[in-house]
Amino acid sequence: MSGSEETHRAIERVARESYGRLVAYLSSHTRDVASAEDALSDALIAALKTWPRDGLPQNPEAWLMTAARRSFIDLVRHRQVVEASESTLVLLSEERNEATLSVEFPDDRLKLLFVCAHPAIDAAMHTPLMLQTVLGLDAARIAGAFLVSPKTMGQRLVRAKTKIRDGGIQFEVPQDRELPARLDAVLEAIYAAFGIGWDDMAGVDQPGRDLAEEAIWLARVLLQLMPREAEVHGLLALMLHCEARRAARRGRDGRFIPLSEQDTEQWSIAFIEEAERHLAEAFESGRMGRFQLEAAIQSVHAERARSGRTDWSAIAMFYEQLIRISPTLGTRTGSAAAIAEANGAAAGLAVLDAIAGEDVSGYQPYWAVRAHLLQRLGKKTEASEAYDRAIGLAEDPAVREFLLQKRG
């Protein structure tokens, strides 16, 4: 590896690890996220110029912080943001005390996460904001994952950041009374990045659009900052369980393989064990929650790697609890699938029939499970109708192919 390549990698690494910390620190006083990001990208460009020439600085993060802070002060001055003057002074005074500041600066990422998922911000923008401000993902990549054009995503991000700056949204960790609801929004946003609704027995998981690793990273950051929150452990456990099966989800030819037919040898034991540790820690707190229940369902599935069988009545029981907390279409469809495995296809179908009053016309997993159960009951015509709906709503070509073959 050449020297400059090495430096590039080092910059990438520092950028990934420090990006959120630096943006959070720079923007927490001014609420000016956009300027903080601009300042940091100036600093990264400067690093790309000087580091290959002069070698890596002893403390790359501190170097970036110093450069970003200077650029930030220039930017804010240039934009003549009147109300920012006070916080600019704070940053300037810290600059003078550089010797004492040294490497340490407060980690404001938790505040930044809560700002990104603030109720005053459009819920659809919570996840994109986190991905950009905490991880530094560019608008084009985020746009691809959320199926909008890069230009549209860019505009929406700018609008959201303007609202953070001018809308009086405070950089703070919510008080105890507000915390559960506000934390929920943060967890939801991270889970949305993960992109997999649920892992059902008919094998129609929604395709993750490549952000699974980023979501796990975000959950790890959050856990570092809130190590005692049961649901944070629960969310991380859930995602790790799903991620453990990534390699088993597709055949060598790219064919879709449903959970029930996956080769458990291909599951990642390391991920499963880590997930189990987090789930155990969550359960110890005694405060049950949605993500812990979803993780518990995945934990029962993971057990098949050891025992060779799946305890469907345990899964059905967890779903029953889950429906009480979160009666979504996804939960109820998952519950129907579990009940069908535990008590027979007719029982599962009865649960699906009970949901049908709601708008299921665009919900692909509902039709996939329905088709599967009707087929098991020998109702050929109805089954192939339902398969058609599931196929028509599928986005992943491999899932489509799988369902086409099952329909026969």
Partner: protein, 121 residues
């Protein structure tokens, strides 16, 4: 609001039209069409004949200029269109992503322009 889904197919996708209809691509399209109609978003649409059957007419210096298709060297050619009634472009993009041709060719979403139509009707 109405959107057009412009479906650009690869030569292989056009070739699938000659099959007996039991191939996966045709099956996926049948299911997709059904899901679109059942959802209530479908307004209309049609496949187009293969690009080679197209003819372009221009009037240059008062004379007719006629050219046979296909007219571009690009691999994917317009193969059909669908008109949908949906609340937002996001919903239209969801349907575009589900379109079987999105995996082999490409699909363009464009809002219809009722104002432009109004000027000529």
């Amino acid at each position: 609001m109405q959107f057009a889904l412009l479906v650009y197919e690869s030569p292989e996708a056009f070739a699938a039209r000659k099959s007996d209809g039991t191939d996966a691509y045709t099956g996926a399209w049948r299911a997709y069409h059904k899901a679109l109609v059942e959802s209530g978003a479908y307004v209309g649409g049609d496949p187009l004949e293969v690009p080679e059957t197209g003819t372009i007419v221009r009037i240059k210096e008062g004379k007719r200029r006629v050219q046979d298709g296909p007219f571009a060297d690009t691999k994917e050619q317009l193969g059909g269109f669908i008109i949908m009634e949906l609340p937002s472009v996001d919903a239209a993009l969801d349907w575009a992503a589900r379109c079987p041709t999105a995996a082999s060719g490409c699909v363009e979403v464009r809002p219809l322009a009722p104002a432009a139509k109004h000027r000529i009707t």
